[in-house]
Symmetry: C2
Subunit: 287 residues, 2 copies
């Protein structure tokens, strides 16, 4: 295998560019040129710029770059999906440039889509970072919970956990109270415990009278709300067995603490390693 | 009983002024001079203006006018609370002007407060609009669920149901999809059914892929989200037995439909009648 290429994990607000030679990452640069920072009609220039900066090489792009708000809509392959399906479904822009499709899952009136996460999820299994049968969680603005069976992505669901926290903090009446720094301490665990009530709309509001009546210190409230939301997310989605977390360290720590509080086990997986394993395999399968 | 007075149900964004003579409402005027429309320091002028307009009479004020953002903080009486307790706890501003206190309920680190709703709730029982033992629901931005036992307000909880709908519509990613008019039809009932999953963070987000994959017409999505939130609210709080709704006709119709879908029974109560019954009784008790 003698092959060099550029892989871009291109999200909405950020992107990460990897230069990969013979399956090994030679450089790895993150910046904030997500798709919303690139004016429509200028993606080809942006691609040329990346080649000028990182090497005049073949390119594989994954993530929101393949959405209808990105460069070219790369569509979706249907779950159950394997890396072979992603490689077979590549949207080829020119002889040296292709975009990885997303994955969709439709069941009656219920639908789910992902775009970008699939490379990490299937890469984690391909690299042996998780077993071929595993549940994985990618916390974030829109948290993905995924099920792998015999190395194939068979099912997944999206929860607006991170977006909800941000919405409440920025715009809700209780946002006034959410000024403290979130950490996985006592108040966070209390929030996780509160999620057992299955009463999110009242549990969220309860922080306001609690603050008004001096029942909870203000600096604890953001952590309590975070625990409540992450607890509700984990309770609804964590099945029996360990949850493999593909997360940055801060969110990984919160989800680990919530899962532990709920009696589940969390295993942290390096999401960059997972992405690289997945994209290298797609490259191999598509040459 | 020969008595005339002005009663003001004075909320955050609106108020309603009643002129009551011998227990009978002679005029009833609603305007948008809620407490946020009245600059701090000018409440006494506002009161004088109301007397100039509606009659130079004794006044009983209820609602957010008695909060720390209103005119004078009227404090709270503790649940269980009766109209006698509200009358006994009046904040007397001068010989002719008093503010009704709110009600609080504290249990360990959990606290609840209400201010304004208590007059309606206890008035409903005093007027025989609901039985002395009843569950009541006041839908709105912050929906109150209350329990009356032998005519006393013993327990209540607040859910941010209406605020959540407004937050999502104005600021969430799914807000782009929530453009249709909400009505208690098929999509609303599907949302109520979806609330059974106890997975609000994923159920809410699901409308986006459903729209993206053309699985649900866009004009249905606001109704589905409304059904989901109101369904979650009712599932968490409606106990056995009928729910007495103190609501405007539009919200009353939605809550009735959700309760029916969940196998509960809804009874609509006129909230103005309930307020008047409560405030007249407080006036009698406090003269």
């Amino acid at each position: 295998m003698t092959d060099s290429f550029l892989a871009v994990d291109w999200g909405t607000t950020n992107r990460r560019v990897y230069r990969i030679e013979q399956g090994i990452v030679r450089s790895n640069v993150r910046d904030d040129r997500g798709i919303v920072a690139v004016p429509a009609g200028t993606f080809a220039d942006e691609i040329a710029l990346l080649r000028a900066r990182h090497g005049d090489l073949p390119m594989l792009l994954a993530g929101m770059i393949g959405s209808n708000r990105g460069w070219h809509d790369a569509g979706y392959v249907s779950a159950p999906a394997r890396l072979e399906d992603l490689a077979g479904g590549l949207k080829r822009i020119d002889a040296r440039t292709a975009i990885v499709p997303g994955v969709s899952r439709i069941e009656g009136a219920r639908g789910e889509v992902m775009r970008g996460e699939e490379v990490q999820l299937l890469g984690a299994a391909a690299a042996g970072l998780v077993p071929p049968d595993a549940q994985l969680c990618q916390p974030g603005t829109h948290c993905k919970w995924a099920r792998l069976e015999r190395g194939a992505l068979t099912d997944f669901v999206t929860a607006m956990t991170g977006e909800m926290f941000a919405l409440l903090k920025a715009h809700a009446l209780i946002g006034q109270e959410m000024t403290g720094v979130v950490h996985a301490g006592h108040a966070f665990r209390e929030g996780v415990g509160e999620s057992r009530r299955n009463d999110l709309l009242a549990s969220l509001f309860s922080v306001r009278p609690a603050a008004l009546l001096n029942l909870r210190p203000c600096e604890e409230i953001a952590s309590f709300v975070s625990g409540l939301l992450i607890g509700a997310d984990c309770r609804a989605h964590a099945a029996r067995g360990p949850v493999h977390l593909l997360a940055d360290p801060a969110l990984g720590a919160l989800y680990s603490a919530a899962l532990m509080e709920l009696g589940s086990q969390a295993v942290m997986i390096d999401s960059h390693d997972a992405f690289v394993a997945g994209i290298v395999r797609i490259r191999e399968l598509s040459r």
